[in-house]
């Protein structure tokens, strides 16, 4: 049943910049309850693909669906109402608000569109607690460390009550310890019922946390499978290490 209407279905999506295809004919499905990752070397088209799913960029062709509903090119504020939220690779807090107010915005305008102030505060504090930064609630968002700002990104996205969380390089710039905490947080998010789509540069991080992985290379889908399958796929190894290319020269 889930196969018929997956929470995210990307169908032959292509995006040109000028004459260059940054993403070409990529298709995949994300099932409910997974952490689905995509990875690839620099310039593989990860960010372009992510932006198209998150509504920041329109595909040149192809369709994106969620539970059978066409969401191709839908703006981000509409995706939120359909239960699709994102985090940013480069954090974008509302710098002149407190941490709590940042999350309150998300509660007010999220899927549930909570109107009451007290209710919104309560939910916001809950989300902050979930992300582990509730003790910072009344600080100005601008003064948080990068690690805490990344958690704020997560708290804000979760506060919109998403069914699918799109997360872009959430571990970028974090220390080793912070990374493993962040990965644990992603697992908890999945276990509480929110599907996660996760884009990451760091192979170790992505293979340790994902249930299923797709690999992009030169804008095309190279492979898809479980972390084990991916790690043993000769095409993937070649893309990352370039063995055959070296042999040829």
């Amino acid at each position: 049943m889930e196969d018929a209407d997956p929470i995210l279905e990307v169908d032959k999506v292509t995006r040109y910049f000028g004459g260059l295809a940054a993403v070409k004919d990529v298709s995949f499905k994300v099932r409910q309850g997974q952490i689905f990752g995509f990875m690839g070397p620099n310039g593989a088209g990860k960010t372009t693909l992510f932006s198209m799913i998150a509504g920041a960029l329109k595909p040149s062709s192809g369709k994106i669906r969620s539970r059978g509903r066409d969401i191709t090119g839908a703006p981000a504020f509409k995706l939120i109402k359909l239960g699709i939220a994102r985090t940013h690779q480069i954090v974008r807090p509302f710098r002149e608000m407190t941490v709590l107010e940042n999350v309150q915005v998300a509660v007010h305008f999220g899927k549930q569109a909570v109107t009451g102030r007290a209710a919104a505060r309560e939910r916001a504090i809950e989300a902050l607690g979930y992300a582990g930064i509730d003790q910072l609630a009344n600080y100005p968002a601008a003064i948080l460390s990068v690690g805490h700002q990344k958690r704020l990104e997560i708290a804000r996205a979760l506060a919109t009550d998403p069914d699918l969380l799109l997360s872009d390089e959430i571990c970028g710039g974090l220390t080793h310890a912070e990374t493993s905490e962040m990965l644990a947080l992603l697992r908890r998010i999945r276990d509480s019922g929110t599907t996660v789509m996760y884009v990451e540069h760091d192979v170790k991080a992505i293979t340790s946390v994902c249930d299923r992985i797709m690999v992009l290379n030169y804008g095309r889908k190279l492979a898809e499978g479980t972390p084990d399958e991916i790690q043993n796929d000769p095409a993937v190894i070649e893309a990352y290490l370039g063995t055959r290319a070296r042999g040829r020269s």
Partner: protein, 321 residues
């Protein structure tokens, strides 16, 4: 100390004072006529209330939503002419004021609908465009008397206090709206748009209708202020209510007081309302030169306005203890 911590400090100062202060202020101003002040003083306060109202209205758009408008005279003038025309056909003042609100809000859409669709400087540019275009049209329009102005004939005895209380009531209404919005869903959405429009949209805020709505609300308040003024003045002309200097005054007040706060525009409006006539009387040639210099100095040295400056002092004082 960076800008955002200053803003938050200023907000805290404002919140700390906010609970009983508006009620005390309102009670004092409402009771003031008991002291039988001079008609001239009452008139000064009357105009100050109108300035305070427009200042708060501008702040809703410029301060909360971050959309700079140079054309609020359009709404002020629109409201003034609407009330004037209706009252001369026998409509009572209150419904005429309501009609002023409506007509100003409608005009706000003429700018907002095309300009808010796009990011960037388009809105600010469009507000300058429409204020010039409207003034030109009003100067040439014959049924409102064109450039020579329009007179309101009210067949009721003139009571200055009636005008005083209507202006006070309007300012109080504007304050309540501004204070309610500031921390509610609507206001948080607007502030999110100001600080990072993309991030706001990524959390579910649809910027376009929000900007349109707050612009229309601000226009309506400004329109009523124009209507109240027209009824008091009994004579209006395009170079006055639609004048460039009217737009300048309206944006200057919140900047002086502190943009994006609840109390800043009130403070700015009061300061401006009380000194404006004095400045114009003392420096008739150069008062706009003074305002322009003031604008430059505030933007470069104290973007938080008076309230931001007070917040800094407050923090320094507390830090020393």
């Amino acid at each position: 100390m960076n800008a955002s911590s200053v803003v938050i400090a200023a907000q805290r100062v404002a919140r700390w004072r906010s609970a009983p202060l508006p009620w005390l202020l309102l009670a004092a101003l409402a009771a003031l006529p008991l002291l039988s002040p001079s008609p001239n003083f009452v008139r000064l306060l009357f105009t100050t209330f109108l300035w305070v109202t427009t200042s708060m209205a501008w702040n809703l758009v410029g301060g909360f939503a971050g959309q700079v408008s140079f054309g609020f005279a359009v709404f002020y003038g629109m409201g003034a002419y609407t009330t004037a025309l209706l009252m001369n056909t026998g409509v009572d003042p209150v419904p005429a004021f309501a009609a002023s609100a409506l007509s100003a809000a409608l005009v706000s859409l003429v700018v907002g609908v095309p300009a808010f669709r796009l990011r960037g400087p388009y809105f600010a540019i469009a507000t300058i465009g429409i204020s010039e275009a409207v003034r030109v049209v009003m100067t040439n329009l014959s049924f409102t008397g064109g450039a020579s102005g329009y007179r309101i004939v009210e067949h009721r005895p003139f009571h200055q206090l009636e005008h005083y209380y209507s202006a006070l009531l309007l300012a109080a209404l504007a304050f309540v709206i501004s204070a309610l919005i500031a921390h509610a869903k609507f206001g948080l959405g607007l502030q999110a748009i100001r600080q990072d429009e993309d991030a706001a949209a990524d959390l579910g805020v649809n910027p376009y209708p929000y900007k349109l709505a707050v612009h229309a609300l601000a226009a309506a308040l400004t329109g009523v202020a124009g209507g109240v003024f027209a009824r008091y003045a009994a004579f209006i002309h395009p170079a006055g209510v639609f004048g460039f200097h009217t737009s300048v005054h309206i944006l200057l007040m919140p900047v002086i007081g502190g943009i994006g706060t609840v109390w800043g525009p009130v403070l700015g409006g009061f300061v401006f309302g009380i000194v404006e006539e004095e400045i114009v009387a003392s420096f008739p040639q150069v008062h706009l030169l003074i305002y322009g210099s003031l604008l430059i100095l505030i933007i470069l040295f104290e973007p938080g306005g008076i309230l931001g400056g007070l917040g800094k002092l407050f923090r320094r004082f507390r830090g020393r203890r």
